[in-house]
């Protein structure tokens, strides 16, 4: 394996990623739930009808992605990844301190920048920040860090490092007032923003983000490619009154303000449940997929500027022409409308085109919606349209799915799949796609407090074109990961990678060989090749 500093001529003319193949390679997954050691179930009554997330990160420095799965009313379960490279997926339960109850979901975030991953736990009740102590153990840090856990029904999270800050800004989305038996509708409780305390480690008193419209997903994302992330929220119209989807303008030192119609923000009222972003068309601006009930949405800027001007936050829906509405089960006899939750863009066949996973599952015996609602794996073709392949791929589970994470758990270069179901055991599949393309995976590191470079953009270019991914902490449905950023590169033998570190301009391009892991340390002059330890 070798690293090269640059690839000549490769970038002379780059455009959107284009796969060479006429038809997408059909991904193939093998379910290894029973043999993997993953055996937890997200369960609980009404207050757990939403939620059911997982956090995936490396807790012990071996590079492998470890897994925390929310348990709802039961304690969460933490699993250390014991897989070997290219082998079967294997995990063992580990008492970590994260075994708290009432957990709806969780996200990894190195809050204090000590290089050891911490975890933000969302709960029905007080949220908790758990400080990583090393060796996969964690301890409550609310008091030490001034984190106000509240007493809400928390269902969304996002984090960013605002420019100039050495401590993260965390947004928490809260659902309805769970004490309201007769009047639950219209009782969305305030979302909150916890910014750094000036001049000291820890959080300042929280700021309410109101009006609050019961978000089920949040994402700090640089939607306008400005170098600064704003806060998008997918809001559940079931519970808000006078609400809509929202995006907050977050600027350091300034109060958050909502984007409005005057700014160009377009009115959209759906059962917003999950959010994911990816620049699918290579224009430098991300598309956003939003899950809902019945039709799901894929938004793109209505008028992307061609002259470098700032775009208006006006999005249009391209879900249907792109083939991602996924509005009802695509297989089986149950043709009632679908209910969609977690969503994520990952390239599951390594053809250089991002694919789309959607977790599906009835809220709770709602007979107007499908009860046998298979998850979707929408594989992108070279025409930019997506083709349903979950059944062919072997991942069309009809359990009542909620959250999940797509990650390469066994370092074979193929993105595996973990899905958290409600009231039935979580499931995990190993990706064994024959004929899959090549890949590269990078992990970012930078000096200072935002060690994992949340908010960075990573660009990979090959002869097939250019792919760009934002490093985020948030989105999906109460599920998140921190670690390796995966790119399929099709038949390319090498790729050029560069990073736009948070708050900075694009950095220098480096060449990577195909099928290579590399750690991109901002302080280093060249990427560091990395090899799995087993």
């Amino acid at each position: 394996m070798r690293l090269r500093l640059t690839l000549a001529a490769l970038l002379a003319s780059v455009g959107p990623a284009l796969a060479a193949a006429d038809a997408p390679v059909v991904p193939v997954f093998v379910e290894e739930t029973k043999s993997s050691g993953i055996d937890s179930t997200y369960t609980g009554q009404w207050q757990y009808m939403v939620g059911g997330g997982a956090a995936v990160f490396d807790c012990n420095g071996d590079g492998f992605e470890d897994v925390l799965i929310a348990g709802g009313e039961k304690p969460a379960t933490f699993y250390v990844n014991t897989s070997s490279r290219g082998g079967a997926l294997s995990f063992r339960t580990h008492q970590s301190g994260l075994e708290v109850d009432a957990m709806t979901g969780a996200y990894p975030l190195d809050v204090d920048g000590d290089g050891i991953m911490d975890v933000v736990v969302l709960r029905v009740g007080e949220n908790i920040v758990m400080k990583g102590k090393g060796d996969c153990s964690f301890a409550r840090a609310n008091e030490d860090w001034g984190f106000d856990g509240g007493d809400g029904w928390s269902t969304a999270y996002a984090a960013t490092w605002e420019k100039g800050n050495d401590w993260p800004t965390i947004a928490i989305g809260n659902y309805i007032d769970r004490t309201q038996e007769l009047e639950p509708w219209g009782s969305c409780t305030p979302n909150v923003l916890q910014r750094p305390k000036a001049g000291a480690m820890g959080f300042a008193p929280e700021i309410e983000l109101t009006p609050s419209f019961c978000p089920l997903s949040m994402l700090f994302t640089d939607w306008n490619n400005s170098g600064t992330a704003d806060l998008r929220m997918a809001n559940d119209r079931e519970y808000y009154e006078g609400g809509q989807e929202q995006m907050w303008r977050i600027r350091p030192g300034e109060p958050p303000t909502l984007y409005t119609k005057a700014d160009g923000w377009a009115y959209l009222r759906i059962w917003g449940m999950g959010l994911a972003g990816y620049d699918l068309d290579g224009d430098g601006f991300q598309e956003y997929a939003i899950t809902s009930m019945a039709d799901n949405k894929l938004q793109t800027l209505k008028e992307p500027p061609k002259d470098g001007a700032a775009p208006k936050p006006t999005f249009k829906d391209i879900g249907w022409p792109k083939g991602v509405t996924a509005h009802r089960p695509f297989t089986g006899d149950d043709l009632r409308p679908s209910t969609a939750w977690h969503i994520d863009f990952q390239d599951v066949n390594n053809d250089g085109l991002a694919d789309l996973f959607i977790a599906k599952g009835n809220v709770s015996e709602m007979p107007d919606f499908a009860m046998k609602d298979p998850n979707n794996l929408l594989v992108q073709g070279d025409d930019g349209k997506f083709i349903e392949m979950a059944d062919k791929a072997g991942v069309a589970s009809t359990e009542s799915a909620r959250g999940g994470v797509l990650a390469d758990f066994n370092f074979d270069g193929l993105v595996d799949m973990l899905v958290v179901n409600r009231n039935t055991p979580s499931q995990i599949w190993r990706n064994v796609t024959p004929g899959a393309g090549n890949w590269v995976q990078v992990r970012l590191s930078q000096p200072g407090d935002n060690v994992n470079a949340i908010g960075a953009m990573v660009e990979v270019t090959t002869e097939l074109g250019r792919q760009t991914r934002e490093v985020v902490s948030g989105g999906g449905h109460v599920s998140g990961q921190s670690g390796w950023v995966h790119f399929g590169i099709g038949g390319a033998k090498a790729a050029e990678v560069r990073v736009r570190w948070p708050g900075e301009d694009w950095g220098k391009a480096y060449a990577l060989d195909a099928n290579q892991f590399a750690i991109l340390d901002k302080a280093a002059t060249v990427p560091a090749a990395w090899t799995p330890p087993r």
């Binding site: 009404w46 009808m49 309805i176 038996e181 007769l182 639950p184 509708w185 219209g186 119209r237 079931e238 519970y239 009154e241 006078g242 009222r269 009930m293 019945a294 039709d295 829906d317 879900g319 249907w320 509405t325 509005h327 009802r328 043709l335 009632r336 409308p337 809220v363 709770s364 015996e365 709602m366 007979p367 107007d368 919606f369």
Partner: protein, 445 residues
Amino acid sequence: MSINRRRALQLGGAAALIGLTGGPARAEDTDQEAVGGQILRQWYKVVLRLVRHTATYSPPVASRAFAYLGVAAYQAVASGSTSLVSLAGQLNGLKALPPRDPAKRYSDAVITHCVMASAVKSFFGNTGPTGQRVMAAAEKKLKGDATMGLPADVVEASLAYGEVLKAAIIDWSMDDGGAVIENMGFPMAYDVPKEPGRWAPTSAIRQQQFPLLPTWGENRTFAMPSGATCGLPPPPAYSEDPASGFYGEAKEVYDVTRSLTPEQTAIARFWSDDPMLSPTPPGHWMFIANSILEDEKAGLDKTAEVMMRLGVAMADAFIGCWNAKYQYDLVRPVTYIKKVIDPKWEPLLITPPFPEYPSGHSTQSAAAAAVLTFIFGESYAFTDRTHERDGLGVRSFASFTAAADEAGMSRMYGGIHFRAAIEQGLAQGRCIAQHTIALRTRSST
């Protein structure tokens, strides 16, 4: 109210309860009447929430539920009343309902509560987990309010009779053509005609590529003979000729919507009444009526009669309107204007996924207004607070007719209806309402 009631019971003794079969009118009767009215209105508040939060409840489906619930509540009272007349034989398909047992004592309020609790569970059994939780909590609370201080035999007999009556109403409802709603009312297959002037899908939502409830106009009506009873003349003949009447109507929508005043915009949004984001158009009028009855502290008799008449009128209005909609199958303004006048034009409101002519909101608003005018009078001024919690403010009207007219015009401001659909819709609604107004509810009428 519970305290007053307890006080009344203390004064009059447990045996002297209002609504007891054959019992004379006395002070406690008034109390019972008031309690019953409050309980019924509380149930309607729950129902309006459930309509908003149950996915199958498009406006026609909501109107149907309002009609059956209204009849159920009305019959709960009429079954023991010497002044209210049963609707059996007056409403299509409604045969004699089970009578009360003369040997038992009953409470109208408890029967009404039971009928509503049980019927609401039937009509909204498909709601989500939060709705289920609300129904259970409401039943528990309102049962407690209704039965407080009553003798056990009265409570037991009343609850049992309520269940029997509810079962009869549900049985009556099952074969009207509207009992089963699949795919949120959108057919799984439908031949969408391609000729110019016919309805075409207006959104990129996959579920809405076929029109909503295309056979609803064939449903059994309640008080009028059939869905075709108040038929309409055809709309202006379709034409793309700028000199044509049809073009003129489209141009009017285009011009009006391009220069909306703030007041017109507010009107459009106020009457938008989108399914799943509001109690729907019929729910809007139920909210108005419920609020007026609340303000008037109306008793159970009047509350039940008003809500029955209003529900029946609007249900018939939707059947009649849908009958005409699928008879004429007319294109929506957004389709025509984009094709013929301005491809970049966008209406203020989301265009509903079904044919244009006539305007459903106009038909049902006119029907509702006619019924409420019949009950409350020509110049009954009121303030409409339906959407206050949604941030749309309140609007005040000098009469129900004025409100209905505004509701009709709101559809032009919203860019979703031509003038003919509004004017003919209002006329159709007034016609349909006469069949509800003709129902005999009082023994003296």
